[in-house]
Amino acid sequence: MLHTINKSPFEKNTFETCIRFVLPGDPLLFIEDGVYAVQSGNRFSPAIKRVLETNPVFALGPDLDARGITALSEGVESVDYDGFVALVEEHQVNSWF
């Protein structure tokens, strides 16, 4: 199951809520303002590091570019809309907002 998160973790509890329900192995995809979570060296970097121990983490590249985020937490993979579709091909979707 693919979990998408579109809210900034600073502003809303979406990220913190979502990760409580994610099972090991299931991918997370950060989109829209959600991508701020994977910017390296911010308050949520330790949480992202913990998630990466059990789950693959992706972020939508066009949304990273739009926000000027170039340095990602290590292990987070940037995908484009094609990559988003590819993840949806493989998984049912659980969209958290």
Binding site: E32, P62, Y81, D82, F84, V85, V88, V93, S95
Partner: protein, 119 residues
């Protein structure tokens, strides 16, 4: 693969509508069928033909209309949500229609995926 989209926010105010559109485009380009975009909550305001953004900006209603024409994607607004927000047949952009929530059940059943975009 057949994909349905549920869009729960209006145009411009939230990025949800833009992301849904970009996702639909990419899915079609990859050879998938985007069967329908169902509009709920403020999402119903995506299809008013009265919107008239600045010339250098995207026209979101026109864009959904185009997607419908080119690729046969049904653009469907929930009737109860539409009535609340002043979306009626009179203002619908070409290629969109108003329908009941039963249709969303059909969309959920007949598609391999239902992907939601909201706020």
């Amino acid at each position: 693969m057949k994909i349905g989209i549920l869009l729960k926010e209006g145009p411009y105010n939230h990025q949800a509508s833009d992301t849904a559109f970009k996702f639909a485009e990419a899915a079609i380009k990859k050879g998938h069928t985007v069967d329908a975009v169902f509009l709920y909550n403020d999402g119903v305001t995506n299809v008013t033909k009265l919107m008239d953004p600045p010339q250098d900006d995207r026209n979101i209603a026109a864009r959904w209309s185009e997607l419908s024409k080119k690729h046969g994607v049904e653009i469907l607004a929930c009737i109860a949500a539409s009535k609340r927000r002043g979306i009626s047949d009179d203002v619908l952009v070409e290629g969109s229609a108003i329908t009941g929530l039963g249709t969303l059940t059909d969309i959920a059943i007949r598609n391999d995926r239902l992907v939601t975009f909201g706020d």
